[in-house]
């Protein structure tokens, strides 16, 4: 019974830690990493939803069509997301570098002004 809902709890756990990090962070680099952690919770959640009892990978190269497989839709969603997330993180981190160059700080508390 507990096992049946454990993956969802883990997803929520990861999500909340990520959120906690984002909210309390005093460093933009740390904040970007927390965002990445928060996002990984979606992977756990999606994989858990797509799982079928006894299901194997949805690749029919060496198994006959009709074998019980897990949901390929959620896997397709995640696969693209992992790569895209890496680049989005790169973009965010480059913004942090620029913020540090312009303002001399990476503490979001101190970044209180706008510059053109």
């Amino acid at each position: 019974m507990i096992l049946a809902y454990l993956p969802y709890a883990i997803a929520a756990w990861i999500f909340l830690w990520g959120l906690y990090g984002i909210v309390t962070s005093k460093n933009l680099v740390h904040q970007v990493v927390c965002l990445a952690i928060l996002q990984t919770s979606t992977y756990v959640l999606l994989l858990a939803i797509g799982y079928k009892v006894g299901g194997t990978a949805p690749v029919f190269a060496d198994i006959p069509v009709g074998t019980v497989v897990v949901d390929p839709l959620v896997q397709a969603l995640m696969l693209t997301d992992i790569v895209v997330e890496a680049t989005v993180m790169a973009l965010l981190l480059s913004m942090v570098v620029k913020a540090n160059e312009l303002a001399g700080t990476v503490d979001p508390e101190e970044l209180r002004f706008l510059m053109g």
Binding site: Y5, G50, Y51, V65
Partner: protein, 252 residues
């Protein structure tokens, strides 16, 4: 907004979030009790309809190819954003003088040098295998592209900075990045010329299990591989340049 107001604002939103969380969790099926109709339908028909044995990629590059096109352009825009933010500004651009000094910023052991050089060939072969066999076995353009893009980094780590610089300076990298993105869109648009919908799989499907099968899935996987490779190498180049300039700036 003062810190106090923000804390209150956060606590209110957090309470809302918790409520939605609990509400959502109550309706989730227990693990293994899969309830989505689409997943079941697509694993039944994908192999017959698209001649692709890897259903995940059949979905990615065919059934929901339009979504993947969107994600592809998120990737493209992100890389473009990094390049734009780190563009040489002119004022602190010391350009060529620093280029030759990439080597100085890299202390390296013999063990790393030898093992890394041995890895490069394997990585490239494996990356190309991943990109081209996406329609048959787990893999595809996204995964293979990342592996291929790591190869130049391994060259750099092995201390062969000259080769690394030749790779990252090559116009082929930008061509791969842009050509990959354009290629995806072009394959989609080509379907319009045949009088069907955008991104319809119009390329002959071939025999299931062959390398050249599944029509557009294999082709799109390849162009995505190109784009991801180009994009990640560009990111690497930009970040390395930034780091090296920083270090040299400190030592001066």
């Amino acid at each position: 907004m003062s810190a106090r107001v923000r804390t209150i604002f956060f606590l209110c939103s957090a309470a809302g979030l918790v409520a939605i969380f609990i509400w959502g969790f109550l309706d989730l099926p227990p693990l293994g009790d899969y309830r989505g109709p689409y997943g079941n339908a697509v694993v039944q028909i994908a192999v017959y309809e698209r001649h692709a044995t890897d259903v995940v990629n059949a979905i990615n590059y065919d059934y929901r190819a339009f979504d993947t096109l969107g994600e592809e352009f998120i990737f493209f825009a992100s890389v473009l954003g990094v390049l734009l933010l780190f563009r040489p500004t002119g004022t602190d651009d010391k350009g060529d003088k620093h280029k030759t000094k990439l080597e100085d910023a890299l202390p390296i052991s013999d063990a790393l040098r030898v093992s890394m050089q041995a890895m490069v060939g394997t990585m490239i072969v494996f990356g190309v295998y991943m990109v081209t066999h996406g329609q048959l076995t787990p893999g595809g353009g996204f995964q293979g592209g990342v592996i291929l893009a790591s190869a130049p980094l391994v060259v750099y780590l092995s201390g062969d900075v000259k080769t690394f610089e030749a790779i990252i300076a090559s116009p082929l990298i930008k061509l791969a990045e842009c050509g990959g993105a354009a290629g995806y869109a072009a394959i989609g648009t080509a379907a319009l010329l045949f009088g069907t919908h955008f991104l319809t799989n119009i390329i002959p499907l071939g025999t299931t299990g062959d390398l050249f099968s599944s029509g557009a899935i294999a082709v799109i996987s390849a162009v995505v591989g190109l784009e991801i490779t180009g994009g990640f190498v560009l990111l690497m180049k930009t970040y390395l340049r930034e780091i090296v300039e920083e270090r040299l700036g400190e030592s001066e």
